[in-house]
């Protein structure tokens, strides 16, 4: 071994550095003891009954688009509905949709825990949609009447 000076301080420093730098690798050992990170289940199928009943082929846009950009879309919808009173969305296939989180999206994606929270929790995202639209209500039926009531008033 080569000679080194102020060993204790240097090793302490290097130890702290290495501990911090490798934190992403070892944190699992201490923080989550039992399981590794599991991807949100990509195979959960939305209940498409609503879509079918209304004659739609499926979701308003394709899966990749929705995964990456749904928040932009919803934000856009909100602005258009609330500020410009434009309530109809026409998708790339020419289908017409009512611009409504609860009235359209959540009809099929009816389980918030599965469809919203699993990914948001995984990525550490806290959307403020649910500040108004859902508060402690997990059942979409209850929710619908409340949300529609709010929108009716407007």
């Amino acid at each position: 071994m080569f000679k080194m000076y102020s060993k204790i301080k240097v090793f302490t420093g290097v130890f702290i550095f290495l501990a911090l730098a490798t934190f992403p690798f070892w944190n699992k050992v201490f923080i989550v003891s039992k399981t590794n990170y599991e991807m949100p289940d990509a195979n959960i199928k939305p209940a498409l009954a609503f879509a079918r009943e209304n004659g739609f082929s499926g979701c308003i846009e394709d899966r990749a688009f929705m995964r990456a950009k749904h928040m932009k879309l919803l934000n856009h919808w909100r602005n258009e509905v609330v500020r410009e009173n434009k309530k109809t969305y026409i998708n790339s296939k020419g289908e017409h949709f009512n611009k409504s989180l609860t009235g359209t999206c959540l009809k099929c994606h009816s389980n918030k825990e599965e469809f919203c929270d699993s990914c948001h929790t995984s990525a550490g995202v806290k959307p403020y949609c649910f500040d108004c639209h859902i508060t402690g209500i997990q059942n979409t039926n209850q929710l619908n009447s409340k949300a529609e009531a709010i929108h009716e008033i407007k």
Binding site: V10, G13, V14, N27, A64, A68, N75, A123
Partner: protein, 335 residues
């Protein structure tokens, strides 16, 4: 020239990653192989550099004293600017590392025309811009780094969620614009501009001073792009990152090439780090002028290589000057 060289280097790096993923489908290389290699190079290189420094001793106590020494009891000494014990040294280092104490002192010198004659004299104005720019840059960088832990951890600690919430408190845009992104961009741009527009700083700058600036700018830019402009699938990114940190690398479904550009630039920064001036991060702890006590007359500092030297002894001196000393009535050891 220097600036162009650095800029082109960073552009080539960005393009390489983009082309590699977009057209050559080398996700495996840019998403798995290079990040692993970069990380290993970073920690190994960093540690090696620290050991390289530590192999040399600090032979003398060379504290720079910027405040009153601890001497007579009734004179107030300055604990932090001239530490007389480890408490003071820790305080001094803390101020230096977290608040850039020395840079805070910064002034700007210039010539002032004398009102009474044709001569000039130097004048000094306080100049905190470098201090502020540097401080904002480093703090926002650290903040962003910690915020990124949301991609590395599961479950995400509430502290990181809080940090993120705080960072987006103004709720501008969607996804909400992070304040630290703005601060980082502004401060790096400022650091770049002062390198270009202050003639002295421009004159002393090397290519190696522009490369990290452009690299960090490009990293910030690509990060902002994929968050605000061309969205990437965050879940896919997290899937990749988590697979890397659990040593079972797996590529996610298609994630935008912008992400790979970002990831590759970050990897490049990590690889470049140990071999560059960026090592000031470790070096600041090693600076003997700041991390030692000022009490070198009270406590003896030991030099491990203190070899003996040729001296001119009193005996030799007396032999040489005996007659003169006798004549001057000086006492002698040997008559």
């Amino acid at each position: 020239m220097k600036i162009l060289f650095a800029l082109i280097t960073v552009l080539i790096l960005s393009l390489a990653a983009f082309t590699g993923v977009e057209y050559l489908h080398m996700e495996y290389v840019f998403g798995i192989v290079i990040p692993y290699a970069a990380f290993i190079i970073f920690i190994a290189g960093f540690t090696a550099k620290i050991f390289y420094w530590a192999k040399s001793p600090v032979p003398f106590n060379i504290t720079t004293t910027a405040g009153q020494q601890k001497s007579l009891k009734w004179i107030k000494s300055d604990h932090f600017e001239n530490p007389s014990g480890s408490f003071g040294v820790i305080g001094r280092m803390f101020m230096e590392i977290f608040f850039f104490r020395s840079l805070f002192r910064n002034t700007k010198a210039g010539l002032v025309k004398s009102s009474k004659s044709e001569s000039f004299k130097p004048g000094y104005a306080s100049d905190k811009s470098l201090w502020l720019g540097g401080l904002m840059f480093h703090w926002s960088f650290l903040y962003i780094l910690i915020r990124h832990l949301r991609f590395f951890l599961y479950p995400i600690p509430s502290a990181i969620v809080t940090l993120e919430k705080f960072d987006s408190m103004f709720q501008i845009g969607l996804p909400i614009f992070y304040l630290t992104d703005a601060i980082l961009l502004l401060s790096v741009t400022f650091l770049f501009l002062r390198r270009v527009f202050i003639p002295q700083v421009k004159y002393i700058s090397l290519i190696a001073d522009f490369i990290p600036l452009f690299l960090i700018l490009a990293i910030a830019f690509s990060g902002i792009m994929m968050r605000y402009v061309s969205r990437v699938d965050v879940i896919g990114v997290k899937e990749l990152v988590m697979s890397l940190t659990s040593f079972s690398p797996a590529l996610p479904e298609k994630v935008s090439s912008v992400f790979y550009v970002h990831f590759f630039l970050v990897s490049s920064l990590f690889m470049y780090f140990p071999f560059s001036k960026l090592m000031h991060m470790g070096g600041v702890f090693f600076s003997p002028t700041r991390n030692m006590t000022g009490d070198s007359r009270r406590i003896r500092h030991v030099n491990p290589w203190n070899y003996s030297v040729k001296v001119h002894s009193y005996e030799e001196y007396e032999d040489e000057f005996r007659e003169a000393m006798k004549g001057a009535g000086l006492p002698l050891d040997k008559e």
